[in-house]
Amino acid sequence: MRILLVEDDVTVRAFVLKGLREAGHVVDEADNGKDGLFLAVSESYDVLILDRMLPGGIDGVRILETLRVQNNATPVLLLSALADVDDRVAGLKAGGDDYVTKPFAFSELMARVEALGRRGRSEVVPQTRLTVADLEMDLLARTVKRGGEKIDLQPREFRLLEFLVRHAGQVVTRTMLLERVWDYHFDPQTNVIDVHVSRLRQKVDKPFDHALIHTIRNAGYILRAD
């Protein structure tokens, strides 16, 4: 993916840049709002990562608003040191697609960037069937089959599996699951999500030879075909 990173803190920028490049992405960088806006307008990117607070008058939200006014729909992830829910809402209202607060784990940022990049590409055609390896999901009939065998899932388990399948091959974090599958925006302290994933595994993976859902240490989960 082509990614633009606008962040003024040198250490954070270098850290994110290195991580994204190691993951095989092409990343441009800017350390102030003016350069960032210039790049965002003149080049075409798959995802923009904008720090909310930038020196020199043009901050992340301004860049975002300018882009949206010009009908530029590139997915935008906002980075912010403000953890307040109101700020989150304000950021999303300005046209942001996702929001990560500092300090963050790189794995969280990475997972969200990849999810955004994929969304930019795939959401054009609404799908009614999803398949990964021998797993098939029928989104209309709301049925799941693996290797031709029907699997019974609760509605929430179905949505959880659907989310994992839609992001197959990508790491999804616990917070992402809590936000996207349950629509909760709070810190659940305990491992509520882990328990739900392990229940899903019991049904989707346990009876079969090889597992589809894998745990990624310090990050989250991934659903993979291999």
Binding site: V89, A105, F186, D187, N191, H196
Partner: protein, 472 residues
């Protein structure tokens, strides 16, 4: 033409007195003096008018009577009648003059026809000479049939006297009223000063840092101000308390994980012999720092909630779906801990609140219950109405808390002795307390022997009771 700015400014009329107390007193005084003036003027006008009208009516009646005499008794009768009246006029205030068409004087006590009296259509008021003294008189002239001229009038010297006495009395009364008004104004100003002074003294003491001072309540109208100021002080006090608690907390409870992370990193940098060891030390330090971050975030959030300004996301909420969602989320965790999570929702009214905050609060309660309850027991979430409040209770059959611990449960970082070996930082209930307070509700802890019940009471909106249900 443009007018210079300073001119425009200086042209604006401006009341020169700044002191509110003085203005108050001045306003009071002027209203008093003005109304007294109006009142006294009315008395003056009414009394003198009354006397005036009396004279006029008497003169007219008299003249009418004499005219009739003239008709019946002719000139001689009229002369007799006038003479008669003059003889019987004890007060000696009646004035008459009868002259013939040629100007010859027939009767009366006026020396001659006054030159000023030239018409017969209205009263004349003039100075006249009577016998040996000068006096004022009011008179009216009439032309009788046959061309005779008749003047009927009254000496109004007495009336003038009354007028003077009345005027003097009223002026003195007005002076006295003004003095009273000035005295009253001074008293008013004094009262005003005293009230303002007591507010000022208290607020000044507070400004100097003595937050325990409160305005005395005296039972008069200023109590509403005092009460508001006291409430404000109460709030400032609470906020200051929060700040103090947070700084203490940062001093003690954040130092621990930071110190731990620091020690780990330093030790690893000095002693680690393999990359493996170094990595694992760094990973553990990252976990410690994440812990610090989460404590930090929780503290900030609690402080923000306690400031009471975060009501932007408040909407009218149905409680049952909110509880069902949470029960569904936590049911798996409960089962994993070999607990049964039961939900019972009676018919409840909607509440006005922030969905995410209420979810967070209830999640904290469920989290505690699941953390502390022994396996094989039930965790019950029960919602219903008491009076006008919606209550939501989370009850477990765990170790419960002692009354002393309960009293301190919502303090930041408080953890009971028995909870030392469980994970957590003691901020869960503080947040619940803050959320509930933001919703104008309250949190009540109670010992269920065995177990703890935490009940949140939140004021409901009026309206329909919403469906009931239960998940067991």
């Amino acid at each position: 033409m443009r007018v210079p700015q300073f001119l425009v400014k200086s042209f604006k009329p401006r009341w020169p007195v700044r002191s509110a107390g003085l203005n108050f007193a001045l306003a009071y005084g002027s209203v008093f003096v003005l109304s007294a003036g109006l009142f006294l003027s009315f008395i003056w006008w009414n009394t003198t008018g009354q006397i005036e009208r009396r004279v006029e009516v008497a003169v007219q009646v008299d003249a009418h009577d004499l005219a009739q005499r003239a008709q019946r008794g002719g000139m001689a009768g009229l002369v007799r009648a006038i003479q008669d009246r003059l003889d019987h006029n004890v007060e000696d205030d009646a004035l008459y003059l009868l002259v013939g068409p040629t100007g010859r004087r027939y009767a009366g006590n006026l020396p001659g026809w006054p030159t000023a009296v030239s018409g017969t259509d209205h009263f004349y008021e003039l100075a006249i000479q009577r016998d040996s003294f000068r006096t004022r008189a009011k008179m009216h002239a009439y032309i009788l049939p046959g061309g005779c001229g008749l003047i009927v009038g009254r000496d109004i010297h007495g009336r003038e006297l009354v007028r003077h006495v009345l005027m003097d009395t009223l002026i003195w009364a007005w002076i006295m009223v003004s003095l009273l008004a000035a005295g009253g104004a001074l008293v008013m100003r004094g009262i005003f000063r005293q009230v303002v002074g007591s507010i000022a003294r208290t607020t000044a003491a507070v400004a100097r840092g003595d937050l325990s001072r409160r305005m005395p309540l005296t039972g008069n109208e200023t109590d509403s101000i005092s009460q508001t100021v006291n409430e404000m002080l109460e709030r400032i006090d609470r906020l200051m308390d929060g700040v103090r608690q947070v700084s203490n907390a940062i001093a003690h409870d954040l130092r621990t994980p930071i110190t731990r992370a620091r020690a780990r990193l330093e030790e690893a940098s000095v002693t680690a012999t393999s990359e493996q060891a170094l990595r694992s030390a760094v990973d553990r330090a990252v976990v410690d720092l994440d812990h610090v971050t989460s404590i930090f975030e929780a503290l900030l959030r609690i402080a923000q909630l306690e400031a009471g300004t975060r009501r932007a996301a408040f909407t009218d909420l149905e409680v049952p779906p909110l509880l069902e969602g949470l029960a569904e989320l936590y049911e798996a965790s409960a089962e994993e801990a070999s607990l049964r999570l039961k939900l019972r929702v009676d018919a409840v009214r909607p509440v006005h609140g922030d969905r995410h905050l209420l979810q967070q609060a209830l999640a904290n309660l469920l989290d505690n219950a699941i953390k502390f309850a022994p396996s094989g027991t039930d965790v019950v979430m029960h919602a219903g109405m008491v009076g006008n409040d919606v209550f939501i209770a989370v009850m477990d059959a765990g170790p419960g808390m002692s009354p002393d611990d309960m009293a301190r449960a919502s303090e930041r970082f408080f953890r009971a002795e028995a909870a030392r070996h469980t994970p957590g930082s003691g901020l869960g209930l503080s947040l619940v307390q803050a959320v509930v307070a933001l919703h104008n509700g309250r949190m009540v802890l109670q010992d269920r022997k065995p177990g703890l019940g935490v009940t949140l009471y939140i004021p409901s909106l009026g309206g329909e009771l919403v469906r009931e249900g239960s998940i067991v």
